[in-house]
């Protein structure tokens, strides 16, 4: 699989309160949850590294952040994005839709949890979760990275 070409992956974020965490985020924003990811950035909870620093900083990990509703029709795209993501990589499920299907748990079109498709490192509950919940969830990655 060819590496994923995305300018988003050239940016490095620090997670507020967790200086050891340096991440690149591929945000698959599929529904309202995506707004909370943006809110985490504007609230200063996810801090973008200065570009001149960012270029030389190695990402500690690439994060595939699924924030929103995944339909079965869209599932192959999620799998492709995951497979194309460079190591070290982790997948984070943000919100009820990504976790289990959430409000759409009984819909015939919605995937009942993206952990059916790719391995998840962290599940963040909420509908949508608060921006602070995103930070608390990303903080769990500190342990994941050390183990992996």
């Amino acid at each position: 699989m060819t590496p994923l070409q995305s300018s988003a992956l050239e940016r490095r974020f620090r997670v507020s309160g967790h200086p050891q965490l340096l991440i690149s985020v591929l945000d698959v924003g599929l529904a309202c949850c995506a707004l909370e990811v943006g809110a985490a950035i504007t609230a200063g909870l996810l801090v973008l590294e200065e570009p001149e620093h960012s270029a030389v900083l190695e990402p500690r990990m690439n994060v595939l952040l699924i924030s929103g509703t995944v339909t079965d029709a869209l599932a192959p795209g999620i799998i492709r994005a995951w497979e194309a993501l460079d190591e070290p990589r982790v997948a984070v499920s943000f919100g009820a839709c990504a976790n289990t299907g959430g409000p759409y748990w009984d819909a015939p079109t919605v995937t009942k949890g993206i952990d059916q498709l790719i391995p998840m490192s962290v599940y963040i509950p909420g509908c949508p979760p608060r921006p602070e919940a995103l930070i608390a969830g990303l903080a769990r990655l500190a342990g994941v990275g050390d183990a992996g």
Partner: protein, 173 residues
């Protein structure tokens, strides 16, 4: 002339009626969807005049067992998406629709899911937590209701043969 807010037409007049509205200025396609009325399926399209903001909903009715209608997709580009959706969700065939690929559903699924007879499989196969016999067994004046053991949205007999005899009197549609 202001077009009517609602217009009911025969299925045979569907294409002609909508195209006539477009020619009068209703050039914006808003949406197209359907309603399951049992024996018949209602199809509705909403088109709008961008200059006057006047919008018209055109309704027609097709038999549920032979749901066919002329496609509007050659006259409104946006209609393709909605017709593909209405085709897979309600089983309406749109004659002349060039793109017949399914939109959201996997091709192998059975009945169109938006028809009222189609039960939500996820609700039928999962055990309803509310079915647990709580201790509200009538001691506080309430009447124990066996009906409650069935979740909302699932017909009595759907994939639950063991429960089909629970409450015949209540019945379902």
């Amino acid at each position: 002339m202001t077009p009517p807010l609602d217009l009911a037409v025969e299925p045979g007049d569907w294409l002609r009626s909508v195209v006539a509205l477009r020619d009068e200025g209703c050039e914006v396609f808003d949406f197209l969807t359907a309603v399951d009325r049992g024996q018949v399926i209602e199809v509705v399209v909403r088109v709008m005049n961008p200059a006057t903001k006047a919008a018209t909903m055109v309704w027609t009715t097709v038999p549920a067992d032979a749901a066919e209608l002329a496609s509007l997709s050659e006259h409104y580009l946006g209609a393709t998406w909605c017709e593909r959706e209405t085709a897979e969700m309600f089983g309406v065939r749109f004659m002349g629709l060039a793109d017949q690929r399914p939109l959201l559903l996997r091709a192998t699924l059975g009945r169109p899911p938006m028809l009222k007879e189609s039960a939500l499989v996820a609700r039928a196969v999962r055990e309803w937590p509310g079915a647990a016999q709580a201790t509200d067994d009538g001691r506080q004046g309430g009447n124990p209701s066996r009906r409650r053991q069935l979740p909302p949205g699932v017909p009595d007999d759907f994939l639950r043969p063991d429960r089909s005899s629970l409450d015949q009197s209540a019945g379902t549609t």
